[in-house]
């Protein structure tokens, strides 16, 4: 696997070891991009800071909590509302963000008094919320504010509240990944084991590394509940603060995003003997295998089989409709950390897309190992790319679509490459069987958008045809399909609803008698 040197980065020679091309005879021992290192000066990274990783990715999806940043408003503002981690309590944690609004005078004279006033004010403003997380930022870390002491003072004065302190300022790691690590360890050290849960099932799990983007967690929770499994806590999407304090009582940790949350699973295994099962919630076959494995662990595999059979019968014809129209299209999988390996193989197998590149902004070498192992030969794998490298890769690889975040996504649009938001989604959820079809539909809509096709014409120089009329998506996507496929009644377009989560929240679940 040769390293790949970008023309635009020849002036930053250290970048060379951050990209490789997967060759036909290569394996992971031949070359692996470097990863999880400080961004090289001169390379304009697209990463977030360690505070962002702790607060925005992991802390704030917790739903019944006031999340307050101790620092300037900018830190909080920039880590607010760009990820759609919804919750079933009217999105309290998504609608509001809190900051202590530290100014220059506080840097000089200290901001502890300000912090205490803000904590009390926030609890008074939302008296129904009794839990809080506080995040350290660069400025308040540098002046040495003792957040733990202030939090303890407030807890002594207000015995009905509980506060978690996360000491992960922006400079506390090379990227947001440093913050994931810190908050995982802080949570297990400070909070796990503090609450004893009511156990209602013989089968009890923590669902870990799942952030309920547009309802992903609720889709998976639905499957687990249909199987009679008690999900003690979700770390952390749509998760509840007190449930997450009782993680130590689960029988199994079901781990989805190992990049952001393997740390707490590893610690729960070492400290409490709870095994860790890594799963994939995306794609029909990986999801089916994952549900089977969880069922098998508890000896209730037939309950998983029933779900798999029902869901596959309902949704497979719709997935196939999109597969026929997406096969052979080139895709760059450029997400943050874990989705490159969650999607690399299954998107090829189940949607027919050819993955021409994988990249990760903050992944570690372990993520690249998984991603490269799962993608096809010829793919370009890049660690922490800068904007110019992203552009160069797109010009060279000519993808039909890229899946990435909103910053590189907007850059892609400018050179007329359609993009889907891999972090916050477009019309998710993407997990579950139906979710996977919704994902295929979004990819289809992006690639064959008639508006996008028009954008290929440059009105400053191209001849603009005025005799063809308006073309629909189907006219583009079906142009070269065989007649039998076009008219097949065995396949159909997506027929689900706009909002598939509202109904799930009202659903009633079968009672399974508890044996023990």
């Amino acid at each position: 696997m040769p390293y790949h040197e970008f023309d635009c980065s020849k002036c930053i020679p250290e970048r060379k070891k951050h990209a490789v091309v997967k060759g036909p005879e290569d394996d992971l021992t031949k070359a692996l991009p470097l990863g999880y290192l400080n961004t090289i000066p001169g390379s304009i990274s697209e990463r977030g800071c360690a505070y962002c990783g702790a607060k925005h990715v992991i802390g704030t999806p917790m739903k019944d909590v006031i999340h307050i940043s101790h620092g300037p408003t900018g830190c909080t503002y920039d880590t607010w509302q760009t990820k759609r981690y919804i919750s079933d309590n009217d999105n309290f944690q998504l609608k509001r963000t809190f900051a202590t609004d530290v100014k220059e005078k506080h840097i000089v004279f200290g901001a502890e008094k300000l912090l205490k006033e803000n904590i009390i004010e926030a609890f008074r403003a939302f008296p129904e919320i009794k839990r809080m997380t506080i995040y350290q930022t660069c400025a308040t870390a540098l002046i040495g504010d003792d957040i733990d002491a202030i939090a303890q003072e407030v807890m002594d004065e207000m015995p009905d509240v509980d506060i978690f302190v996360c000491n992960s300022p922006g400079f506390g790691g090379p990227s947001q990944s440093g913050g994931h690590h810190k908050i995982n360890i802080a949570w297990i050290n400070q909070k796990v084991g503090n609450v004893e849960p009511v156990i209602t099932s013989d089968y009890v799990i923590n669902y870990v590394g799942e952030y309920n983007i547009q309802g992903d967690q609720e889709i998976m929770l639905d499957f687990f509940r249909r199987m009679g499994i008690q999900v003690l806590s979700t770390f952390t999407g749509n998760g509840s603060y007190d449930e997450l304090r009782s993680m130590h009582r689960a029988h199994l940790n079901v781990l989805e995003c190992a990049r952001s949350a393997e740390y707490i699973c590893n610690e729960l295994r070492v400290r409490y003997g709870i095994p860790r099962l890594d799963i994939d919630g995306f794609g029909f076959e990986p999801l089916a295998s994952s549900l089977r494995k969880v069922g098998r662990f508890f000896g209730i595999e037939e309950r998983a089989e029933k779900i798999i059979e029902e869901e596959s019968a309902r949704w497979k014809p719709e997935l196939d409709w999109y597969k026929e129209r997406l096969t052979g299209k080139k895709i760059c999988l450029w997400p943050g950390g874990s989705k490159l390996w969650h999607w690399a193989n299954v998107i090829h197998e189940e949607m027919g897309l050819d993955v021409v590149s994988v990249y990760t902004k903050f992944g570690h070498q372990g993520d690249m190992e998984k991603g490269i192992a799962r993608c096809e030969v010829g793919a370009l794998a890049i660690d922490d790319p800068n904007e110019l490298e992203g552009l160069e890769a797109m010009y060279k690889l000519k993808p039909d679509i890229i899946l990435t975040g909103k910053r590189p996504g907007e850059v892609a649009k400018k050179i007329r490459v359609p993009y889907l938001n891999a972090h916050a989604y477009h019309n998710g959820p993407y997990k579950g069987f139906e979710g996977w079809v919704r994902f295929a539909r979004d990819i289809y809509n992006a690639i064959y958008s008639p508006i996008h096709q028009l954008s290929y014409l440059d009105i400053s120089k191209d001849e603009i045809p005025d005799d063809g009329g308006f073309k629909t998506q189907r006219m583009y996507s079906d142009a070269t399909l065989p007649e039998a496929v076009k008219t097949s009644s065995a396949m159909r377009e997506y027929t689900g609803k706009y909002d598939i989560i509202a109904e799930l929240r009202k659903r009633e679940y079968p009672e399974f008698n508890k044996k023990q």
Binding site: L28, L252, A258, N266, N345, G366, K370
Partner: protein, 115 residues
């Protein structure tokens, strides 16, 4: 009929594309996972009993039984092999996975003494 190297390559490819257990974060984690999961897979393929009384073992067994089932389903040459041949093949697979994920791995984080 593929030779043992071709068989190992096919089995390795399945693990790499479909599994996640081989990529835990530290060298000792990976060795432990490889030993337990591939060890149990070998036993299951030979029709031997495995002990799943401890939660940890049950979790290994979940991944091992998934692997064993898929191997039997996808590679029909398994049905023509004796138990001794299966053991020899699985030993070679274990050595190969240990090499790719640990001993020959370029992942510098594997040596980190802490999680």
């Amino acid at each position: 009929m593929p030779d043992i190297n071709e068989k190992v390559a096919q089995l390795e490819n399945f693990i790499m594309k479909k599994c996640l257990w081989q990529f835990h974060s530290r060298a000792w984690d990976r060795k432990r996972q490889n030993e337990n999961i591939l060890g149990m897979t070998a036993k299951l393929l030979c029709g031997e009993e495995v002990d799943t009384s401890k939660p940890e073992d049950k979790c290994y067994w979940v991944d091992a039984s998934y692997l064993a089932e898929n191997y039997r389903e996808r590679f029909d040459w398994f049905s023509t092999m004796s138990n001794d041949e299966i053991k020899e093949l699985m030993q070679a697979l274990r050595e190969r996975i240990d090499f790719v994920t640990v001993d020959g791995s370029l992942n510098e984080e594997l040596k980190d003494p802490r999680y």
